[in-house]
Symmetry: C2
Subunit: 474 residues, 2 copies
Amino acid sequence: MTEKWGFYEIELAGPTEGNPFTDIQLSGRFRLGDRRVEAEGFYDGDGVYRIRFMPDQTGEWCYETFSNCDALNGRTGTFACGEPTEDNHGPVGVANTYHFAYADGTPHISVGTTCYAWIHQGQALETQTLATLETAPFNKIRMCVFPKHYLFNQNEPERYPFEGEPLTDWDFARFNPAFFQHVELRVGQLCELGIEADIILFHPYDHWGFAGMSAEQDDRYLRYVIARLAAYRNVWWSLANEYDYMKTKQLSDWDRFFEVIAKHDPYDHLRSIHNGSKFYDHTKPLVTHASIQSPHVDKGREWRDAYKKPIIDDELCYEGNIEPPWGNITPREMVHRFWTATVMGCYAGHGETYMHPEEILWWAKGGVLHGESTPRIAFLRQILEASGIDGLDPIKNENWMWNSRVAGKEGEYYLFYFEPHQPAVWTLPKGGPWRVDVVDVWNMTLTPVDGEQQGEASIPLPGKTFHALRVRKA
Amino acid sequence: MTEKWGFYEIELAGPTEGNPFTDIQLSGRFRLGDRRVEAEGFYDGDGVYRIRFMPDQTGEWCYETFSNCDALNGRTGTFACGEPTEDNHGPVGVANTYHFAYADGTPHISVGTTCYAWIHQGQALETQTLATLETAPFNKIRMCVFPKHYLFNQNEPERYPFEGEPLTDWDFARFNPAFFQHVELRVGQLCELGIEADIILFHPYDHWGFAGMSAEQDDRYLRYVIARLAAYRNVWWSLANEYDYMKTKQLSDWDRFFEVIAKHDPYDHLRSIHNGSKFYDHTKPLVTHASIQSPHVDKGREWRDAYKKPIIDDELCYEGNIEPPWGNITPREMVHRFWTATVMGCYAGHGETYMHPEEILWWAKGGVLHGESTPRIAFLRQILEASGIDGLDPIKNENWMWNSRVAGKEGEYYLFYFEPHQPAVWTLPKGGPWRVDVVDVWNMTLTPVDGEQQGEASIPLPGKTFHALRVRKA
């Protein structure tokens, strides 16, 4: 039985002649009571057509197909949708303006990483990447549909997304189903690991010509990807990595892509677009959240105020040691930026670029993690998931002067982050009584302060680098 | 014999009746060849009047006094001025727009600290402070003329600057010579240690009324201080600590103070004014350099561009552990801000605020240093003094992308500072050949890279936190 937010697929046999990718129109209408959901189908090669659907209500659904091809038109059926299994909380959406939650209401504390081209590295490395992700703290991964050509990324992928002669004569009107089946395989595996796939639809690091398709080709590609992938509950749409570095696209193209996705994705998955040096206008209504590249995480509050949406700085430089400055921050700085983003009421994204003899850098290819930030990010995620509040918002208070940073929920929960400060004493908020823990951010310890504390009590702190204070209503 | 930039004093006996501070006008005119320098005299109590003079040329000087009192008027004399002794390089002035040099041309790499009220703490503690300064790396100290009343500063000074009933009935028209003799004693001792006295003339942390004098009283106070102190070659004038927090003064008062000082100081000692939260307009012509309070040392290049003068961020927070955020940055952060200021082509100031059972915090009272930043600041000073160039200016280069920071002199000297970056390899500038040293900023080691290196060579680096690279023309 299909589960709620699970995956239902109609498989149909149809014509192989002509160009089924362009000649055939196919869609399904799914109904349960008053609800009707339309989903586009797609050609999967070898005369196989599919319509995929993610039901979001339990009960008996029925469907009917629509096509300009008789063999595919007017097919009907029913299927039962049951309760979701334990780890299935549904797709992630925006919650409380600045935060995220799964469809069942469970908060989603976004803790992402980036492996741009991990699905284009071959079976051995991709399997290793999945094994790494299984024990890593990340619940979102930024990844490209297209392969990547760039520094440390000179290898050709095993599969290409289009038919034709690689690099010389693509047929952009004919998709390569094997390529997309492979994308889906990986997206599905991520789903099983509880990881959101932040799918990057376009990017500038191209030598194949995928960045330079026509508007018609771009839109057809988008609809094909949506038809194939939207039924995966863990999908997020990222229109681009570094949209502003793609000289082949205009701002109007990006605006149109948002419209195409909003129109054809039946589930309204999260939509954003990631900048190089120039931020997109994230106030535009089809942008669900801001996906930002910036080393300046301490501007998080400004971004929240500007966009009134969830903020993820998911490229705040990479922990690593390569020469370009975007790829060599210290593990300490990575952890610092995560905590800083947190107390700004925002979310951060991890990435790693340590030099490797075979050029296997996590940031692009996956593999294994070499850095020291990951366990500290896991520790932070544990703290945030135990907060008991629906997202931390920055708290302003005259008593907490100048550089001090605190987020939480007034009267209930406060997370003070001190670095680069090291006070040896701290005055608790008014109210209470409070349960207080001293947090060693680097050594990953939570040390409770004995007993319940009253409001405005002075709490001794270690007066050392890299500490935080957690204050919860007793 | 008086040495060049030394101290010559004319002592005269005069009247004690009336109010010698206001009734008597006294000045000296000093001549050598075509040069004429006018210096105001002052009443030092007990019928003693003094005129002080700092000669800036060797040779036979003659002088003549002028007064409205016959006993003090028309006195003449001569004295010889010889070569300066080894450690006497003269007063510090602006050099190369953004930097400082002593009058003999020796660069002055400003490495300051702050002990606001150290001269008001009694003999034992003041002696201890001097002993600390003797081995500390600081060549400038920010210090107030007036005592300080503030958090951790509740003790009354031994001496007050004015006659009258303390706190109830000051006679602002009568100075207390013993108070100013004590100020001079300390300024002179600093001079012997090679430390510039950055003398803060007004400040808001007052409960005596010294911050609330009339314009006439303020100006008389300034002229008295100038008459007494200007002949000390190590004097800098700082009009205020946190001028914008002094509600008793208007912007026009500060502008006038600059004029009074410029008019009456015969030696044109450095003049600046230190902000609380609102920067003074340091483009004004009588401001010789910017004395800034800001945690944002990474804005140094912007400040240089705005003011076209030397920039000292001499209050970038204090290493310490008190609760207010301005007083509790980590030693690591203090060192980081010094290095950051350096590669921005600016200068930084140190300070310490560790909690102390007797409330003896270096920042206000002196004593001993408890922190860990000081030896690292000494290490940085050594590197800078060995640079062989007249001040480090920021260098922009397309190859050094984004967050990378480098200062020096194009083609001659480069200091790259990486934190929070940790590249494992770095490409040298074009040109060369270069002598290259890897600098461990925290552990204070300079490790030469073997041999001379060619331009654009790739240099392996430790790929660890808190490193820098020194590149010098071979």
